[in-house]
């Protein structure tokens, strides 16, 4: 191995796949796990304790909708007791009164709230949940009242890219410290719905200008993080900061993965917490070692001066588009099939503008898709 094995710093815990929303770009896998497959409270607490021993300093509690877990307060308290920084990633719909206060009391450090649109009609349509927007506004107000720092997360695509200035106003009006303008990443459900979600070039360029201007104008007032759209990129994103380099994630049934979409790579198999320990999975799992460091790289990555900046980009995107998980991420201009990204953008535009296909989303729910697209 060319790079020494370092302990992980961050962990994403997908506590459940259950969710009141049905966003067509959900990062959960197409095959959703039902409630009876979820780890129980004691197992999550044991896993968190091992994670802290292993060096994890920050845990993102996500889902599905993590607040559907009735033991969330207990899980937060367990992490806080170990000095782990906790970030709750919620859709903010249907959280009963008093619970956000209980999360804060248990030691929650930060809350991230998603908005599918800056306008109520957009939020309700994308999540396929009537009244969602109003409930989210209430969640934001309650989080602020409980003294919790707030990030607004806005997943961006064709149907809300024009709302970016309104997202900025919304985040300011809610008193958020941070706003994520996060262009949808095309894996899982988003890949299934890619043609419906892909924005157009002009809109992407306009968005970049608006965000850059707002970042400068609002320095010291709100932090705006911009997750740019891969298909329009020159260089790929260093997905997860490099495969199995300093973070990992755990699915509701305790399967430990290097990233969200890793299960779309058919050559890899993954292990579960209990019987396996986190420390042995992190160090020895063949799936974690498959793309760790730079030894696995082919050209043009292998000889590239950016190989330890981009880490080859996203393995799952290489799998989905190049058909080879060890290929250069096609988002990179140096990829031999980079031109395919532009073709996919044009293809999406052609399909999405056919009136009968407009907004023909495959909404996320159990049984909506039987095999991956």
């Amino acid at each position: 191995m060319s790079t020494p094995l370092l302990p992980p710093i961050g962990m994403l815990a997908e506590l459940t796949h259950r969710c009141p929303l049905q966003c067509p770009y959900c990062s959960n896998p197409l095959e959703l796990l039902k409630a009876n497959r979820e780890l129980d409270t004691e197992t999550w607490l044991a896993l968190f304790s091992e994670a802290a021993d292993l060096g994890v300093l920050q845990v993102h509690l996500s889902g599905g909708e993590p607040t559907l877990r009735r033991d969330l307060e207990q899980l937060i308290a367990g992490l806080a007791g170990r000095g782990v920084y906790t970030n709750l990633i919620t859709a903010g719909v249907g959280i009963v009164e008093g619970r956000i206060e209980a999360f804060a009391e248990a030691g929650l450090d930060h809350l991230q709230l998603s908005f599918q649109g800056a306008r109520p009609a957009t939020t309700d349509r994308i999540g396929n949940h009537k009244g969602a927007h109003e409930k989210k506004l209430e969640t934001a107000r309650r989080a602020r009242a409980a003294g919790l720092p707030l990030t607004i997360n806005a997943p961006i695509h064709r149907h809300n890219i024009e709302e970016v200035p309104e997202f900025i106003d919304l985040a300011l009006s809610l008193g958020a410290e941070r706003l994520e303008i996060a262009n949808v990443q095309y894996a899982g459900w988003a890949l299934t719905n890619r043609d419906q979600l892909m924005p157009e070039r002009e809109a992407v360029d306009r968005q970049a200008e608006i965000v850059a201007e707002a970042q400068e104008r609002l320095a010291g007032i709100i932090n705006i993080d911009f997750v740019t759209p891969d298909y329009f990129a020159i260089y790929p994103k260093p997905c997860m900061g490099g495969w199995a380099r300093d973070a990992f994630m755990v699915t509701p049934d305790g399967t430990v993965l290097p990233c969200h979409a890793a299960q779309t790579i058919p050559s890899l198999s993954f292990e579960r917490f209990e019987p396996r320990r986190l420390s042995s999975i992190w160090a020895d799992s063949p799936a974690f070692n498959a793309f760790r460091g730079t030894d696995w790289m082919q050209e043009p990555c292998r000889g590239c001066e950016r190989r330890e900046i981009d880490w080859g980009g996203c393995r799952c995107q290489a799998m989905a588009i190049a058909g080879d998980a060890a290929a250069t991420d096609p988002a990179c201009a140096k990829s031999p099939i980079h031109a395919r990204m532009a073709m996919l953008i044009d293809e999406a535009k052609r399909i999405a503008t056919v009136p009968s296909r407009e907004e023909a989303f495959v909404y996320r729910r159990i049984g909506a898709v039987t095999e991956s697209a």
Partner: protein, 98 residues
């Protein structure tokens, strides 16, 4: 839209503190102090750590500069330039409250 909050500008009279979402914590595994924030973890060097630790919500920037100059046996003016630039940068990232 509600009235915009304003960007804070560091002065010698500012009283910096760490906001609730930022915390300094010793990591025994890595034997270093980490600054934990919502998405990022920082590993400040000794001088940065010394500045951040003095952001206690009671000391003014003037006090912090005087204290650091004494501890490091350095010219106040040189220290002042560095401390003010550091605090402005951290304030602009909302990691320090003024």
């Amino acid at each position: 839209m509600m009235a915009l909050r304003e960007r804070a500008v560091v002065s010698l009279r500012s009283v910096p503190s760490l906001p609730k979402h930022v915390r300094i914590q010793y990591d025994p595994l890595r034997q270093a102090f980490a600054v934990l924030s919502p998405e990022k973890i920082f590993w400040p060097n000794d001088v940065s750590l010394d500045i951040l630790r003095r952001c206690d919500g009671r000391s003014t920037v003037g006090d912090i500069i005087a204290g650091l100059a004494a501890d490091y046996e350095a010219e106040q003016e040189a220290v002042a330039t560095d401390v003010i630039a550091f605090l402005q940068e951290w304030s602009d990232k909302l990691l320090v409250r003024l």
